[in-house]
Symmetry: C2
Subunit: 349 residues, 2 copies
Amino acid sequence: MKKFDIHEDPHRRFNPLINEWVLVSPHRATRPWQGQNEKIHTDALPEYDPTCYLCPGNVRANGESNPKYESCFVFENDFSAVKQEPIFFEEDSKPTFFKAKPERGIARVVCFSPRHDLTLPEMEISSIETIIITWQKEYTDLGSVDYINHVQIFENKGSVMGCSNPHPHGQIWAQSSLPTQVEKTQNSLKAYYDKNQSNLLIDYLQEELKLKERIVIENEHFVALVPFWAIWPFETMIISKRHITKITAFTDEEVTAYASILKQLTIKYDNLFETSFPYSSGIHQAPTDGELHPEWQFHMHFYPPLLRSASVKKFMVGYEMMGEAQRDITPEKSATVLKALPEVHYKNK
Amino acid sequence: MKKFDIHEDPHRRFNPLINEWVLVSPHRATRPWQGQNEKIHTDALPEYDPTCYLCPGNVRANGESNPKYESCFVFENDFSAVKQEPIFFEEDSKPTFFKAKPERGIARVVCFSPRHDLTLPEMEISSIETIIITWQKEYTDLGSVDYINHVQIFENKGSVMGCSNPHPHGQIWAQSSLPTQVEKTQNSLKAYYDKNQSNLLIDYLQEELKLKERIVIENEHFVALVPFWAIWPFETMIISKRHITKITAFTDEEVTAYASILKQLTIKYDNLFETSFPYSSGIHQAPTDGELHPEWQFHMHFYPPLLRSASVKKFMVGYEMMGEAQRDITPEKSATVLKALPEVHYKNK
Ligand SMILES: O=P(O)(O)O[C@H]1O[C@H](CO)[C@@H](O)[C@H](O)[C@H]1O
Ligand SMILES: O=P(O)(O)O[C@H]1O[C@H](CO)[C@@H](O)[C@H](O)[C@H]1O
């Protein structure tokens, strides 16, 4: 009988962060693609777009004008998915099938730059530092609101990721409850911490640094790697080397190192298919419920959909929706490809 | 303080099938859309396409010719995500972070019709019955293979759902393990069954039939409804009224009733935006591990991505990937809209 070869044979891998499996089919990477191709936007964007509701000085949907901001600019989301208004609610005593609870929250938009045409990989390190400092401030501000227990910082980049405006920006949704994915992660981190009196992601990082098979970038304070259990073709995770539960605990040096790895990683992404690389990214860190949460470790997920060119993405559909996530290239292969990419942005070659 | 109104206020709902929450933002349905529009394919397809690898008589990627089939045609997937080959594997004794296991399986493609241009809503009931009978046969055949414990029947329809060929077809991925979503569902069904000595979905269906708020179609043997915890804008679930753990237990009458509700539901879907409505659908039923599984109840999920027109879909991205699924219109509203749609296909008006 053939001996199991993880680089060749179909297998499942286990994600200890959310307790779920992913189906890996290494041999399938070569199948021909006859499906939908994504539109590629190659038109250069202007530095300022008079019709963009995020550009400095322009008017937004609700009639307000943006200030003539010069670095980051944060405002309340005009179409927030959650509301600040308190709602009176009596828990149903027999809610077996129809369990619902009002949810309070605050949603904000973070413009990364006054420049309409500058994404993370093309920004100065100092401008990325400003974004990180803005995230720190928002985590503190929103987290200190009495009814806010979780602050989700994220970015949707590219129209294929549902982003409706190319002006570089991210979002923050802060709310009373721990969202599903965060709660799953917390449960796993907590169970590991209670059992081992150490941090799951810190311990995992030590192993990865020994194996060096999935590391894409390493600097003094951060590592970017393709997790062993990655779902998306070029999924990565940035982890801080020091045990840090939340973004506000960074030293100045760590802020710079984080800015630097963000720039380097997104440059590699853009270089992969010589396109402005779409992704959703998001930071997972300690909830803001007032507890210490030593089980948490600051990390940032990047979920990019592209599979084999600027126009061919991986679809998480039928089998993935009914069964489980499935990937064609191994995380090791993806890490090797990303690692080998140049550190200079393809536009500056 | 304002009293909670489930039709107006942001809230979370609980999905008892997979133990996860969804964020519902009813007020958000009116936000303007400035993002990506999907391509709409309006060209009429030919009945036979000489370049289609699924049409009768044509040659597939592996060089084999399809027979001149006249109803359903099943073949082994040429680019299967799983393989039949047995793999020798010794479980690691210390696999904390790098847990992986070989996975054996069989993947098949089911062509629904020799006609290149006929999707479910436009087929005769008798042709849909043939598809159901094919699914029964495959469930039995694949399920009886000694190492196959789960048979996932599904369909990806439309290029926006990663479907690479408009020729009407579905897929079957059969494998050794219970896929993640199925395992979660089984755990919930089992816990409910052990506690109540009754079936979760049968009990849920009784409640829904009393409330009549989310029922889209009902016939003698089946109900199509928008689940209370639906994630996708027009998500539905077809449930059999009788307690049936698997597709092979249907009577002839039930096969006809199932074919009929499949046709009616997909006609309503096509009529919603007067387009060939994209979705992923899939059947959840008892595993084929030889156990009785009274906790299971046959049901079929439909996950359609379109939100407000043939070209505007809901994106499950940033917040949804990092936090939890979020929807803008309530399931009750979606059910009302679907219910009110004509029963005659828009092309035959
Ligand atoms: O098998 P197909 O139709 O080529 O591929 C499609 O369905 C599969 C199963 O849901 C997915 O894994 C693929 O991402 C999708 O493109
Ligand atoms: O808030 P936006 O950018 O308008 O909308 C985008 O991001 C949201 C948060 O991930 C999603 O819920 C939307 O489906 C997506 O289109």
